[in-house]
Symmetry: C2
Subunit: 203 residues, 2 copies
């Protein structure tokens, strides 16, 4: 969508701080009402701008959430990469590490996100909801297993715990050899763990 005509934009249409104000409003509402409970319309209202202007700056709600929370990448492609041609825990691990490695150069490195999540239970809640919406609804093992929902929750939480722990060890604690090893090497070590959590015997 192109930029709408100025007359349709409500207050402060061309103001240079408009984008920053939308982000500030988004951070406040996502923290107060969670990811799912916040609409782009409510963010526009709090920022005092027309909803069309929010869409001008941010493609959709996930994009605005990632910008507001400084998440460097959408987790969904990591999961999709891991499922190309059958689920592979090693591919999930490799892509997860590669994406965070790429983010290290930016101000949205893992430790920045970790600080924000540690500092506020509300941010933690919103990030958990966001990741759940982007990934967990499409987790492996879901198809035709409606009755296995509680088990699927376990699997998702266990996969998440191992991946986050890897990022913590690599970027925050800088624990060797995880801190410096090539992503493919780490994928070889940890892939079987993710495979078991995703599709193996866990009870």
């Amino acid at each position: 969508m192109g930029r709408p005509p100025v007359s349709a934009l409500g207050r402060r249409p061309g103001h240079p701080e408009t984008r920053a104000e939308i982000l500030e409003a988004a951070r406040a509402l996502f923290a107060a009402d969670g990811y799912e409970g916040t609409s782009l319309r409510a963010i526009a209202r709090l920022a005092g701008v027309d909803p069309a202007l929010v869409h001008h700056y941010f493609a959709d709600k996930p994009a605005l959430f990632m910008a507001a929370m400084r998440l460097p990448f959408d987790p969904r492609p990591v999961q999709e990469y891991g499922e190309t041609g059958g689920f592979s825990g090693a591919r999930v691990v490799q892509r997860f590490i590669e994406m965070w490695d790429e983010a290290q150069a930016s101000e949205t490195a893992f430790v920045t996100v970790a600080q924000a999540v540690c500092a506020s239970p509300a941010v933690a809640d919103a990030v958990r909801e966001f990741v759940g919406e982007r990934i967990f609804r499409h987790a492996p093992g879901d198809a035709g297993r409606a009755q296995a929902a509680p088990l699927a929750m376990e699997r998702r939480a266990l996969i998440s715990s191992q991946l986050i722990g890897l990022a913590w060890s690599r970027y925050v604690m800088r624990l060797e050899p995880v801190a410096s090893a090539e992503p493919t090497l780490i994928a070889g070590w940890v892939g079987p763990t993710i495979d078991r959590y995703a599709v193996g015997e866990i009870d």
Copy 2:
């Protein structure tokens, strides 16, 4: 050791803030020089007190480090518990979760430690050194395997990554069912992962 006579204590022997000053000096030095590079004597010097006074308040260097960094428990008993009668990943996981659960009620909960580690690479370095000194020197698989040192490092880092990820999921992200499950249940899910990392095939 009982409290030494006042005449032996150097400056500020009975000052009510002495303990707090020792802790402040300890935090500064551990962050500057790491866990291994900091002596109790240097901490006493920076705090302006006699070394005997440091020993009066803190049993040894690990005890002072834990107090300074607000670590709620010594990791060594967790490891020892896991090795009672042969290594058991499930016992390690159970004890690790139980210890952090007990710490939740105090001001030294996991999220407090996580905040301090995220906020400062120097603190992260010191905590990594401390945990390494308390646990990794006695890790499973070490006996008679001098040539396997690099592999042992991998094993230690992988175990650490899974345990920290569990604590993150349970206490910071509050991701169900890991957030509320009984420690024994989590031990059943994650124990085999720790077993493989500790003594199984990982390459």
